[in-house]
């Protein structure tokens, strides 16, 4: 069906359809006809041209007439609403500029429900948010109320082209391939394949210098015979008296601050930390070495053997140490074995004693590597 030149026909199809001569008003008799159908009565449309170009409405589609299609006042009201949204957006942008100039970045404001929050963030965010949102809201309101809401239909063609096209395309591919000679010259083909297969290797090889070869760093920490045990944070050397029965203290080796500065890394911090706990000697059911405690003070690695979180939650009553990451639980009264959660290996124990001045010291490094699984461990 081709578009007709009858103007009433076109506007009848034009519940907001494209009509170049349209002034936005609708013919009075057409309008009367549409009014009879209004009240959101569905109108089943015949396949009639809606616009002069492009896709047309599908036959038999149901369509609901909108107030704005038939009542110019409703349409003008919608137009006003959209313009107000756009206008408010512009105002919000101006508001943003003012807030940017007036409010310092670190200003605070107390709000009910939201609590203390950054005044600058609040003002900038609300103004910018509204400025952006209102453009979107206006555009969608415009589309819903004032643009045609008649659904159009377009043909879909199967993905697979017809035989003719296929034969033509395939023929060209085959001919082109034959012309290259790649099928007839196996030597060419094979050497090209070999060359291409090798080419990615440099890209892989060059990744080698991303890092050094492991040289047993994961098996060593700073701990050594006679090295003092410092309280974490204060870095004061600890005496046995500083740790009452039932207590847990986080500790690091003496010199860790200096090592951190020298190397510029936190690597030692990720391995060496220990927890010290003290229990009545008769409560210790087992430990990893004879006499590794000092008067009931036990030192265990603080690094979880699961995937390496620092462990910090100690339950004095059960003598269990709980990892906050995945809740592996270790029994410090029983050699630090895991009793719950995903960790499979015990926490390495550090043998400790006191030096001549009465400060707690290590008796050497850990006997086994700390932290998560290492493939090369025996």
């Amino acid at each position: 069906m081709s578009p007709t030149s009858d103007s009433s026909d076109r506007s009848a199809g034009g519940f907001g359809g494209y009509d170049p001569q349209s002034t936005g008003e609708i013919d009075s008799d057409v309008r009367g006809e549409i009014l009879r159908q209004a009240g959101r009565e569905p109108v089943t449309r015949a396949a009639q041209p809606l616009t002069a170009y492009g896709p047309q409405p599908a036959a038999g589609m149901t369509h609901y007439v909108r107030q704005t299609d038939i009542d110019p006042r409703a349409a003008r009201r919608a137009e006003r609403q959209v313009s107000i949204m756009f206008g408010l957006s512009a105002l919000a942008t101006v508001g943003f500029m003012i807030a940017y100039v007036v409010l310092p970045a670190d200003s605070l404001v107390a709000l009910p429900f939201f609590g203390r929050t950054s005044a600058s963030n609040l003002a900038l965010g609300l103004s910018l948010g509204l400025a952006i949102f209102l453009i979107g809201a206006g555009a969608i309101h415009w589309a819903k109320k004032l643009m045609p809401d008649v659904e159009l239909s377009q043909e879909r063609h199967p993905m697979l082209p017809d035989e003719q096209t296929r034969a033509d395309a395939l023929g060209q591919v085959v001919e082109g391939g034959l012309e290259s000679g790649i099928t007839r010259r196996p030597l060419l083909r094979r050497t090209l394949l070999a060359a291409m297969a090798l080419l990615p290797l440099p890209a892989i090889v060059m990744l080698r210098d991303l890092g050094p070869a492991p040289k047993g760093e994961l098996f060593r920490t700073m701990w050594s015979d006679g090295r003092r045990i410092l309280a974490d944070i204060t870095y004061q050397p600890l005496r046995p008296e500083d740790i009452p029965v039932g207590a847990m203290v986080s500790a690091v080796p003496e010199g860790i601050v200096e090592v951190t500065h020298e190397t510029g890394t936190l690597n030692e911090r990720a391995k060496a930390p220990v927890v010290l706990v003290r229990m009545a000697p008769e409560d210790i059911r087992s430990q990893q070495g004879q006499g590794w405690d000092y008067q009931g003070i036990l030192a265990y690695s603080k690094i979880c053997t699961h995937v390496g979180c620092p462990i910090a939650l100690y339950q004095q009553r059960t003598k269990h140490l709980l990892c906050p990451c995945h809740q592996s639980t270790f029994d410090l009264a029983d050699s630090g074995v895991p009793i719950f959660g995903p960790a499979a290996r015990r926490l390495p124990q550090l043998a400790i004693s006191v030096d001549s001045e009465g400060y707690l010291v290590a008796l050497g490094d850990f006997a086994e590597p700390v932290g998560p699984t290492i493939w090369e461990r025996e």
Binding site: T62, A105, L124, I140, P148, D149, M159
Partner: protein, 565 residues
């Protein structure tokens, strides 16, 4: 043709025409526009999910670019002296200090950080829900399998981008996340230690990783995402969007609104809505307040710390896994880490990627599908989907088992055990229940078509009997309900052909036929057009008969009749 456009020519008009002409001569614009300006896009709320993903990604790019101007990807130690008083004088990495700077000293910096983070969360959420929409409606079927594969890659990349970004500020939480990642890497058999030493330029944490992660986060992953999104959208455009069944909608047409003006206004407007909403949320709701966590220290941790939501399922899997570690020839195989952190996600994503091909193989369906399935009509697929979703949700919930434990005062031990059992049994229960619900809905649809809908009007027949008047369902409704077709499962292959020769590939074809029988087994027979016609004329007949014979009962009788009903 009368509808030639001859508006009054003003300077703007002439300028526009000249520009168009200029471009047309050089780009052949008209040929391109002719077929695309009024391209039809079907409309449905669920089609906006992909759009939300797209727009969140654009917002992420815009705000992220701003952040790069101020963020310093370096772990060099400095002493903080910015505006945030509680951390003044504390040694920290430049990365952390610059993030504090963005939050407290750059005007609008906190806003950009928060929009960036919220948009990233929305991005992953929208992709996930979009994927479920595509799954449950069968939009992945031929010819859209490639777009499904691109989609799965996008999902994985989005998770990667999120994790990398979360790790950049070098605060206590992000550092702990990296520590876990390094531990997971280290547990990989044979190459684990080497991988860590290459990635971190030595031991964890070293100084190289944050700058490297930065490149991955701002260049590599977004570049890939951008390229894949482009391909994704080109395919959507080229293959045309699917549509839900309905009156006038067939497998060979697209019904909806034209690109210009409606779709441009709606989709373009929707970008501003998404951006605006993200900005408003960021104005009001703090996300990732890194200043509260303090700088990263490998021997410190806060209890109850939670990763971003999309890592939750991995976290839950890690927490749930029993402490299994094997020793093989003296070498440790850490199943407790490998299974939940690498094998499980690997399997999940492989299965998701292969799903369209598995389903096509089982059903033997080789047709093109442009009409979407209503989920009930593909009962087995829907049940499988809910099964997978249940598995995911159990893992996700277990990711917060410590929060649940403290909130409800339960023991972590019993929660973990309950979740382990639920992880095994829950999905099966979900499958059975979902399938039943789908079949129930299929039955109801059939009844509606064959017996009409209840009008709520009661008539009394001369015999004194009360009947409720039924009416055929509307044409629109019928078009939707009739969209399902009966599919015959693949037949069992004969063991031998007519000449007694053994059928080739017998075993393979048998398995497939069994699976196909299982797939369609319980489906309620679809209503055929002939059945529908007969049923409708029957209903109309009854209606007419009842109306001619029956009378509307008086009020008291009516209420009695209704109460008996």
């Amino acid at each position: 043709m009368t509808a030639t456009i001859t508006p009054p020519a003003g300077p703007v008009q002439r300028g526009a025409e000249a520009t168009y002409d200029y471009l047309d001569q050089r780009l052949g614009l008209s040929a391109l526009l002719k077929t695309n300006v009024r391209k039809i896009f079907p409309d449905h709320w669920s089609f906006m999910l992909g759009e939300i993903a797209l727009y969140s990604f654009i917002v992420v790019l815009l705000t992220g670019t701003f952040l790069t101007f101020f963020y310093k990807p370096s772990v060099t130690e400095i002493i903080y002296d910015g505006s945030y008083l509680p951390l003044r004088g504390i040694p920290m990495s430049e990365a952390y200090a610059s993030t504090l700077n963005i939050s407290f000293d750059i005007r609008g910096g906190l806003l950009m950080r928060q929009i960036h983070h919220w948009a990233a969360l929305f991005f992953v959420a929208a992709i996930s829900v979009h994927m479920f929409r595509v799954f449950f409606t069968g939009a992945f079927r031929k010819p859209r399998e490639f777009n499904w594969l691109i989609g799965v890659s996008l999902l994985v990349l989005a998770l990667l981008a999120g994790f990398a970004g979360y790790s950049l500020p070098d605060d206590l939480l992000s550092g702990t996340g990296l520590r876990i990642a390094a531990g997971i890497m280290q547990s990989i058999p044979v190459v684990g230690t080497w991988l860590v030493f290459l990635a971190f330029e030595g031991e964890f944490p070293g100084t190289a990783f944050i700058p490297r992660l930065y490149t991955i986060h701002v260049l590599l992953v977004p570049g890939l995402i951008l390229a894949l999104i482009t391909a994704h959208l080109i395919l959507v455009f080229y293959q045309k969007h699917t549509q839900y069944p309905g009156k006038g909608r067939t497998n060979t047409n697209v019904v909806g609104y034209p690109l210009l003006p409606v779709y441009v206004a709606k989709a373009g407007g929707f970008f501003f809505i998404v951006f605006g909403v993200l900005t408003l949320i960021s104005a009001l709701v703090t996300i990732n307040p890194i200043w509260l966590y303090g700088p990263y220290m490998p021997d410190q941790v806060t209890a109850g710390s939670q990763p971003d939501w999309y890592i939750g399922f991995l976290e839950g899997a890690l927490r749930m896994m029993p402490a299994w570690e094997l020793l093989i020839f003296g070498y440790p195989i850490s199943l407790n880490v490998l299974v939940p952190a690498l094998i499980l996600p690997g399997l999940i994503f492989t299965l998701i990627a292969l799903y369209p091909f598995i389903e096509a193989w089982v059903t033997g369906d080789r047709r093109e599908h442009h009409l979407l399935d209503r989920p009930r009509n593909a009962a087995t697929r829907t049940a499988l989907g809910v099964m997978g979703l249940t598995f995911y949700v159990v893992l996700f919930i277990n990711g917060g088992n410590d929060v649940i434990a403290t909130t409800f005062d339960l023991s972590i031990n019993s929660i973990t055990w309950a979740m382990r059992i639920l992880l095994i049994l829950g999905p099966w229960a979900a499958f059975v229940v979902t399938k039943r619900i789908c079949l129930g809905l299929q039955r109801r649809d059939r009844d509606l078509l064959l017996h009409g809908r209840e009008t709520g009007r009661i008539l009394r027949l001369p015999s004194g009997e009360f009947v409720e008047v039924h009416e055929p369902v509307s044409e629109e409704r019928a078009a939707i309900l009739m969209a399902r077709q009966d599919v015959r499962p693949l037949p069992l292959p004969p063991a031998t052909d007519a000449d007694g020769v053994r059928t080739p590939g017998l075993w393979h074809r048998r398995v497939r036929s069994r699976l196909s029988q299982w797939w369609y087994r319980d489906d309620i027979p679809a209503v055929t057009p002939a059945e529908l016609a007969a049923a409708q004329s029957h209903i109309r007949h009854e209606l007419a008969a009842a109306e001619s014979m029956g009378v509307l009962p008086h009020e008291p009788e009516l209420s009695e009749a209704l109460s008996r009903h």
